[in-house]
Amino acid sequence: MIVFNNVTKKYGNNVGLIDASVHINNGDFVFLVGPSGAGKTTFIRLILKEIEPDSGKIILAGKDITRIRKSQVPKIRQKIGMVFQDFRLLEKKTVYENVAFAMEVLHKSRKEIKERVPYVLELVDIADKANRYPDELSAGEQQRVGIARALVNKPRVLICDEPTGNLDPITAMDIMRLLEKINVRGTTVLMVTHAKDIVDKMNKRVVAIDHGRIVRDEEGSYGFVQQSEPEPDLYVPGFTSFLDPDELRAVQAQVGRNSESPKGRTIAVPDPVGYDDSLVDAYLDGGEDVYE
């Protein structure tokens, strides 16, 4: 359970969070959305006790964490699993070692580590790459490792800071499915994101922050007008969901014709197995980067 009670945090004249009150129950799946600089990061840093609020209460797992001593901070963080946009894996450690490292940090016994790590790797569906190094994995696989590491110490809350920010839309959806699976198993998930399409599609509770204030807290959609994030010119997120075959063919036709399209345009397509290979060929012929 995460409770924010009238929490205010300012950085000099800059606003971090103003009078924010949020109640997140155990087992909730909550999106935290809002434009850059709105206060999302402040929100997360407050939960992690990286910073202290100017006023208000923050309750995590029944404890008012604004009133506990600095030396108790590790205890709080042990209850939270962090997933980062940039994965933050250790390049010199294998997948297995990266996940085991999280347990070593908490002085877990070798026996516990040997039992738990393979289980979690299996859970995030990366067990077959346990002995690979992060740079041998795709971005999506790396994020799975990141999630495994966050889960391995059985946290009550999983905080995901733009977990799909570095992923193509298809992979992003896979990661979302994984997060949902984890949530269904009982872990509270709080996800900070900019990805309107993901929020809209998942249909979960959305807490929207703007200029430090909680402007909306309800089930449903992203709500904000999409910010000007760097995006592909042509955006085909998981087209089974967003485009029907007719629309798809329309895109195909458009791209096929636009053969002198500038380099750097990116079109994402899902695993082409089961679909018309010629679609991918058409994209490629059109000078697009196609990734699966």
């Binding site: 030396s71 590790p74 205890k75 963080r77 933050r88 490292f101 999280a102 940090v105 908490l106």
Partner: protein, 296 residues
């Protein structure tokens, strides 16, 4: 795996990744300890010499002019006995002096056997009650007719005390300076290691690692540097000291009639001293360098 075992293993793997810097640290700290060690053995020896002659502070030796007649000898003796503060006057003949010198020289005494004539003068040992009388007797004695020379160890003791005091101050100043330099060197070495592991440390903090968990391998690294430096420095000091003693030890023995402290006797003290110093430097240096990285 035990926590200490884990941390030491981490410390060694860190050292492996930053061999050059750690090697430089060991070199610098060893050099510092070597300088300290040489100061220390010099200090110990001067102190020993000072204390071995200190017990003679209340004795003034008055040498009679060479070839002085029995009359002269007696009159000097009488004069001395009259002097204020004198407790006892003892006559030491040429022959007595030679005997005691032979005794002092011990095994080297045979060197004195074949002298054509005894070069030592007759003398009086004047025992005084306190320092002030000693000073006044020493000042008055040269005026007595027939007195050739006055040897009063107090001068020597004071000079020696000055020398040992100087060495003491010198080594303290050198030590303070060198300890600071060493701490800076260790701190910088460890800081580089910390930089290399900055990402790892921030991840550890997010995973809920305690500050001690993060700190421990670095502190162990500092301790290992300290211990290695101590052992090398002790070995080097021992080696240099025995070489010096080998070259001039017997000369010192002959000239000052005092033997130097055997190297074996100093080694344990040196090692203990260096270990304390080295471990202290390692711990402080690493604690300093990692402090600001812990506030994540």
């Amino acid at each position: 795996m035990s926590r200490v075992g884990y941390n030491v293993k981490q410390a060694f793997s860190q050292m492996g990744r930053n061999k050059g810097m750690y090697f430089t640290s060991v070199l610098a700290i060893t050099a510092m300890m070597l300088i300290l060690g040489l100061f220390f053995v010099a200090f110990m020896n001067v102190n020993l010499f000072a204390s071995s002659i200190e017990k003679d502070y209340n004795v003034i030796q008055i040498y009679i002019e060479d070839g002085g007649s029995q009359e002269v000898i007696d009159s000097v003796g009488a004069e001395l006995r009259k002097t204020k503060g004198v407790e006892k006057v003892e006559f030491v003949s040429k022959a007595d002096a030679m005997e005691s010198l032979k005794k002092k020289w011990g095994d080297n005494g045979y060197l004195l056997e074949n002298l054509p004539e005894n070069p030592l003068p007759d003398s009086y040992m004047v025992y005084v009650s306190d320092k002030d009388s000693a000073n006044s007797v020493a000042a008055a004695a040269p005026a007595i007719k027939g007195v050739n020379d006055v040897v009063y160890y107090r001068d020597t003791i004071e000079k020696l005390a000055q020398v040992s005091h100087f060495i003491e101050i010198g080594s303290l100043v050198a030590m303070a300076f060198l300890v600071i330099v060493s701490i800076i060197i260790v701190a910088n070495t460890i800081k580089l290691t910390v930089f290399n592991r900055e990402k790892e440390i921030s991840i550890m903090k997010y995973l809920g690692a305690t500050n001690w968990f993060v700190r421990a391998p670095f502190i162990w690294g500092g301790i290992i540097v300290g211990v290695i430096s101590s052992v090398i420095a002790t070995g080097l000091t021992y080696f240099i000291y025995t070489k010096i003693v080998g070259i001039i030890g017997s000369d010192i023995m002959r000239i000052l009639s005092v033997s130097v402290i055997p190297a074996e006797q100093l080694t344990a003290t040196l090692l203990a001293m260096f270990l304390c110093l080295g471990i202290g430097i390692g711990v402080i240096g690493s604690a300093i360098s990692i402090r600001r990285f812990l506030n994540v």
